[in-house]
Symmetry: C2
Subunit: 315 residues, 2 copies
Amino acid sequence: MKLFAKEEMEKVVHLDKEVIDVVEKAFTDLVKKEVQMPPIMRIDIPEYNGEVDIKSAYIAGYDSFAVKLSSGFFDNYKFGLPSASGMMLLLSSETGIPQAVLADNGYLTEMRTAAAGAVAAKHLAREHINTAGVIGTGAQARYQVKALKLVRDFDRLLVYGRTHEKAEKYKDEMERELGIEVTISRTAEEVVKASDVVITTTPATDPVIKAEWLHPGLHITAMGSDAEHKQELESSVLEKADVFVCDVVAQSIRLGELRACNSQRVIDEAIEMGEITAGSKKGRSSENQITICDLTGTGVQDTAIARYAYERLTK
Amino acid sequence: MKLFAKEEMEKVVHLDKEVIDVVEKAFTDLVKKEVQMPPIMRIDIPEYNGEVDIKSAYIAGYDSFAVKLSSGFFDNYKFGLPSASGMMLLLSSETGIPQAVLADNGYLTEMRTAAAGAVAAKHLAREHINTAGVIGTGAQARYQVKALKLVRDFDRLLVYGRTHEKAEKYKDEMERELGIEVTISRTAEEVVKASDVVITTTPATDPVIKAEWLHPGLHITAMGSDAEHKQELESSVLEKADVFVCDVVAQSIRLGELRACNSQRVIDEAIEMGEITAGSKKGRSSENQITICDLTGTGVQDTAIARYAYERLTK
């Protein structure tokens, strides 16, 4: 069993259309194939404001599958360390024997999460947009926007974050990397009202988006909430939307935006991303719709990206 | 983050009294300290008759904790491979950052499982025994009996296994290693009726021990059942016992012997091993009692042995 370091993976796996396709196929497989995807295992470390999540998914017919650990320790900045870390393990489906340790430190997760956002935007955002908006200024705020740029063209980006210094840093980096104008908004409201696509990337436990800010044609991808105490969108935001999509309904109900949803209609009408990517349901069907995608993250995406990475590492 | 191979671990971790103490302390910590021990995550691979179990436990105050993967692929013998494999990961409790991959291939699990059996026997078996009995002829059948020999002296061992060839091999090895007489019994009944301590180590889904075979002073450690469809002891066996102990009641109800128990009294009176090791409850209190210990395996044991191994590996 070999251990691969993050640097090795950064050489062969990039945020590009190939990775978006890998993740899109994972969503399709999630609905079309036999999948064993147990509920996420979470270990809370209250003393250090941390949690470790373990995800896995076995897709019938795949000769390997991943087990993914990701840590989120939100006091780590005090030690000058990033809050996220982790690894993926690839196991043989036929013998159960571990094949590789991908010590990616969360890199592959960042990739497959951003790619999922791109898949969501690909099917749900308006074809032509001008302005993208992002709530949050961390790693996913960067990756999600870069991924969005691969599926939608836009020349303006609005960003809101609670710490101005971080927002400044974000603006500098993204202007340089994307070559577009980045504006720091003073409120989340400004971002939502002026953007065609909004991505929320926060660990918020109180909603950051209110229903009154929504407008026709808007698409929101909410990827921050992945645990019972987190929520980025008010229930009324979900009720006001025309289309609500998530990666897995049961998971969104347990850990995502559907958890705090007061409307049974929204829950009943929720579409799973794989139904859209498999072609059985439509994404956006008119310019004026308000669409939402709630991403909590699935083991299927982890297995897909781990296999992709391993294939490219051992080529 | 370093990867340690099985051979390195075999050099520094052995089945001895030190390891039994490590595991005994783990049980005590399970009841005395704040422990985050989420339910076991299981991934079934039906096509290959396999399953992967993931266990973890964080004990407040410990600066690291383990995540343990173990695979049981029961067709592997067709490829000349062992059915069990796996690894342990050690993570920092303070930062969530992975410290080590212990590619033990199940070795540490074998150690901590056998050690748990020894802890059970230490508190539940009669002080003085003559004959030990084992149902099963695999790895745990070997380790459990060796561990028992560290806490109880006996000069005779009875073994029953479904495959005579394997039982012969077991007898040869164990006679050589323990220097005692090993007799192959033709039935499980013979083993139970003639032994002072019986250990069941099978993946049986139908009970292997019947109530009529029990006799005063007998202690049974059942370690085979660790999933919903497994069962080694009839419900009436549990009802006939004077003392029923398990590692974790909720887990025994979900995955162990209590799952098929028809008696609410047995469930209500079930004692957790940690209560005994912590001194709050008694184990065996008379020579004539029939005692049972159901071991399903806990993340606390994994964390304890992983930390112990890492400490000895990095000394």
